[in-house]
């Protein structure tokens, strides 16, 4: 079916476009962007979407999602994860390999791609493991997985603690042209900590995770990036010093990129106390301090942090409703990322809309080397229409889980319509059934 999106404001950071224009989609591709395309309406035979007062952007891309399938289908499936993505305005998501079994071989990659093709409503691009079983010892069959369709490698959830293994992985993946998404954590130093180490952890009697557990590894990975000339992408940056290290490395021309997640510019460790040990504030890396939040915002504004990812990590109620120490780390994020970006960055004027959209579209596309994240004529018609003025209270989710610290929060600015390859998969916050 053809689509004609009328009267919207097109925001396409890849082309530095921000203007009132109509968008014509034919056969799943963008064929025309321009004014008053509606004058030719009768000849177009297209479904009309009125985007008056709304923003039309490239479909959002999340390079850091946990879909839990295979292994933990009780928490999330590829199906439900993509439904959550569609509601959140994401048309492409990259799923992390820390499933059970770990995605460290071609069969795992093929399973994800086939299942996503059959059951998913948005594009799913698998991330393969760096090492076999994510054990940090032997390289996984990265080349074969690349040929099967992975866009990056990561041992996310665990760091590769051995610097020599990391060096070889960077050299090897450089040859294949894919980045390593690095979970930076010195596990000897974080030592099963429960929250950011500081005043709040001292008062609450929770085991602290020092910020240096992240910064040491950011620093190491930058050094290894320099040594190997590979591509390292730092996942979920949470501290001010990490931002400085990355900024400095970029200045020196090192090929490092970075992401942060919305909670790191929205919340601080005080939330753990305010919530009286609310386990939905238990995240790894942990929520940090006001100074860190400020530095993350600055890093986003000056381009040090290239993109924003959800780090969507579903956990069941019965897993989270436990003693803080026993509860698993992580929160869901696919359905709250865009509203938090708009509410906490765009509306608060720490980031112009077009730059914020870049961090959710063309920047992540560039990091993983895919031809998406743009509304250029001829590209895939993955489109998100955003209503900057829509206000909702967070509380209902398409995800199987509801482990979010943002429940009850009133936010303004949500995805209105999500279009994947010219097909409307979500509109008005509701999934469009097949």
């Amino acid at each position: 079916m053809n689509l004609l999106i009328l009267n919207g404001t097109v925001c396409d950071p890849a082309n530095r476009t921000y203007k009132k224009a109509d968008v014509l989609v034919e056969n799943g591709k963008i064929v025309k962007i321009g004014k008053t395309l509606n004058s030719k309406l009768s000849t177009l035979n297209a479904k009309i979407i009125d985007a008056k007062g709304k923003i039309v952007t490239p479909g959002l891309i999340d390079i850091h999602t946990h879909l839990r399938e295979p292994g933990r289908e009780d928490e999330e499936t590829i199906r439900t994860g993509t439904l959550a993505a569609a509601v959140g305005g994401f048309t492409t998501i990259c799923c992390m390999p820390n499933t059970n079994p770990v995605i460290d071989s071609v069969s795992g990659v093929k399973f994800i791609i086939a299942t996503a093709h059959q059951e998913g409503v948005v594009n799913v691009l698998p991330v393969g493991a760096i090492t076999k079983g994510q054990k940090g010892e032997q390289l996984a069959e990265i080349g074969k997985m690349k040929n099967a369709g992975i866009v990056a490698i990561s041992d996310d959830g665990k760091p590769v603690m051995n610097a020599n293994v990391m060096r070889r992985a960077l050299e090897y993946s450089k040859m294949l042209g894919i980045p390593i998404i690095s979970h930076c954590e010195d596990t000897n130093l974080s030592a099963l900590g429960e929250m950011n180490e500081g005043y709040i952890s001292t008062v609450l009697g929770l085991k602290g995770i020092p910020r240096q557990a992240e910064e040491i590894m950011v620093s190491r990975d930058i050094a290894l990036c320099e040594l190997s000339e590979g591509k390292v992408h730092i996942a979920h940056v949470s501290t001010a010093r990490s931002v400085e290290l990355i900024r400095d490395a970029k200045k020196r021309g090192i090929k490092v990129t970075a992401e942060t997640a919305p909670h790191y510019f929205s919340l601080t460790d005080e939330e753990v106390k305010n919530g009286n040990y609310n386990t939905n504030t238990k995240i790894n890396p942990p929520l940090r301090t006001k100074e860190d939040v400020k530095a993350i915002c600055k890093g986003l504004a000056d381009g040090t942090i290239d993109c924003i990812a959800s780090d969507h990590a579903p956990h069941l109620d019965e897993e989270k409703q436990q003693e803080f120490k026993l509860a698993p780390s992580g929160i869901i994020g696919l359905e709250t990322t865009l509203p938090l970006v708009i509410a906490n960055l765009v509306h608060k004027e720490s980031l112009p809309l077009i730059d914020a959209i870049a961090k959710l579209t063309c920047n992540p596309a560039k990091i993983i080397g895919i031809k998406k994240g743009t509304l250029s004529v001829g590209s895939d018609a993955d489109i998100t229409i955003i209503d900057l003025n829509k206000t909702k209270t967070i509380g209902k989710f398409e995800s199987k889980c509801k482990n979010s610290p943002f429940i009850g929060m009133k936010l303004t600015g949500f995805a209105d319509t999500t279009i994947v390859a010219g097909k409307i998969v979500m509109t008005g916050g509701k999934i469009v059934s097949d």
Binding site: G198, Y199, T202, L204, G205, L206, K207, Q321, Q322, E323
Partner: protein, 315 residues
């Protein structure tokens, strides 16, 4: 005056006046202990469940006696005999207890925040009998009661807490309570066992007690746990004892009337020498007696009792 709280989770959450109310209310309860019948009918018909996820003799017995001397019925649930070993969650366990119509749940747990989870889940009054490294409010209260009894005041006193501050819920409750009542609080211990930003709780940090011993009115000595050695926190118990153990030699410069306290159980010869533990300055056994009176006051006030009214026990 009444205590308008459903639960007692920590001294952080109480005001100066509320702490003073509990300490005042404990006085007539303590006087009760000198009588032949050490029991009042105040909580008759109420049920107190003692839910202990960690082994404890002194605190559990103290709470049980406190409840019994108020004529409440008590039930003990120890972790080894409970459904927990069958994999039941904390929340399900306390919902079961609530269904049995308990009025109080006194909980001891190895993990910080456990008492908060219970308090959020059930309508019964929850008394935190120690949660992980967080708080042990009734220990803090009984320590303050003891100081007050001996020194007639807390305001302006120099009080040191010595030992493993990092893992100590006793230290945190004492710090909150003593500061609210106007004491000058010092913490002394190995740098590895002093938690980050503790000075923001208005305490002075020291690694060498000899620097401050001359001005101290009270030393509260914490138990050192042997397993901390394996976590690279100090090299050996012998070295700990030499650097931080309180003995007569370390007290040579101390005030004559310095109070020696310990929440127990003691490792004699490690954090405290026998000589010091048994000296006339030691109030360690009195702390135990006072613990019951303070816990009676807590249960009484949480049940809605009036702090002024119980003065009548004196008559």
């Amino acid at each position: 005056m009444k205590l308008n709280h459903k639960d007692l989770l920590g001294l952080e959450y109480l005001s100066k006046n509320e702490i003073e109310l509990i300490l005042e209310t404990a006085k007539p309860f303590k006087e009760l202990f000198t009588r032949t019948v050490k029991k009042v009918p105040t909580l008759r018909g109420k049920t107190v469940v003692l839910l202990f996820y960690e082994p404890s003799t002194r605190t559990r017995t103290s709470f049980e006696l406190a409840a019994k001397r108020l004529s409440a019925d008590t039930v003990n649930i120890a972790v080894s005999t409970s459904a927990v070993v069958k994999g039941e969650s904390l929340i399900d366990t306390v919902k079961t207890i609530e269904a049995m119509k308990a009025d109080f749940v006194v909980v001891r747990h190895s993990m910080s925040g456990a008492a908060h989870i219970i308090a959020k889940t059930i309508s019964a009054s929850v008394v935190n009998a120690g949660d992980g490294m967080h708080e042990h409010p009734t220990q803090g209260l009984l320590d303050m009661f003891t100081v007050l009894e001996k020194k007639r005041k807390i305001k302006g006193l120099n009080i040191a807490i010595v030992g493993d501050i990092l893992h100590s819920r006793v230290a945190r409750s004492n710090i909150w309570g003593l500061n609210k009542l106007g004491a000058n609080v010092f913490v002394v211990g190995p740098a590895t066992l002093i938690p980050k930003d503790i000075e923001k709780l208005n305490v002075e940090v020291h690694y060498d007690i000899s620097k401050i011993i001359h001005k101290l009115d009270v030393i509260n000595i914490l138990r050192i746990q042997k397993e901390r050695q394996e976590q690279h926190l100090f090299p050996s118990l012998e070295e700990y004892s030499e650097l931080f153990g309180i003995n007569t030699q370390k007290l040579s410069n101390a005030k004559k009337d310095i109070l020696i306290m310990h929440p127990g159980p003691m490792n004699r010869g490690i954090e405290i020498s026998s000589e010091v533990a048994d000296s006339k300055n030691s109030v360690i056994t009195e702390q135990v007696t006072n613990g019951i009176a303070v816990r009676m006051a807590v249960l009484y006030l949480l049940s809605g009792g009036d702090g002024g009214e119980c003065e009548s026990f004196n008559s």
